[in-house]
């Protein structure tokens, strides 16, 4: 196993790890906006790392160009798609995202309760 293959496999493993993080976030987070936060950032990072690892492993010019094309395209479109969904749901009448709880000094409460999840049912 050459150094190139080792680096490629490490990149691919990191990418798969971030994909799993994104999916766990989608399953576990409480409302749509936080789920989107996990999906669009961790998911994009995972896919980009995996594709970069694959392109590095195969190590030909044509393959590398295709890999870079995929990466550029994903980096361009993932934020746009996430923004469009968020704007659609928000204008459809979702409740405003909960504000940050008051500062620790003001409440003297070490463990403030978690803010309630956003109500996005108005978009349905």
């Amino acid at each position: 196993m050459t150094a190139q293959h080792g680096v490629a496999m490490a990149l691919a493993s990191a990418g798969v790890f971030f994909c799993l993080v994104a999916v766990v976030g989608i399953l576990r987070l409480p409302d749509l906006f936080t789920r989107m936060h996990a999906a669009s950032k961790a998911g994009t990072l995972g896919t980009v790392c995996t594709v970069l690892g694959a392109a590095l492993f195969l190590g030909e010019w044509g393959v590398g160009v295709r890999g870079v094309l995929i990466i550029i395209f994903m980096l361009l479109t993932a934020p746009v798609a996430a923004h469009m969904i968020a704007r659609a749901v928000y204008t459809a009448g979702a409740t405003a995202p909960p504000r940050f709880p008051p500062s620790r000094n003001a409440t003297a409460d070490a463990n403030p309760p978690a803010p309630p999840p956003c109500d996005t049912s108005a978009a349905d």
């Binding site: 798969v16 399953l27 789920r35 989107m36 896919t47 694959a54 479109t77 993932a78 798609a81 469009m84």
Partner: protein, 87 residues
Amino acid sequence: MTVLLDSLLALLLLAVGLASVRLGRGPSLADRVVALDVISALAVALLALAAVRQRLPVLLDAALLVSLVSFVGTVAFARLIERRSDR
């Protein structure tokens, strides 16, 4: 090497399965759209790893196509959600 690639592919398939749980559960249409978006990103990663596993660089073209189509689909769903709320 092949063992590592196979385990990575299995992990990605597991991730697709977990994302389909959210796809089925919802609760709103936007949640399903987000889950579908993640599944297509996972499909791109799967195709890239399959290209390495089978030494078939053509699969990277398929991955590019999947990411293109999924972007168009997500934008269309966003327009649908926005349009339905106008009524």
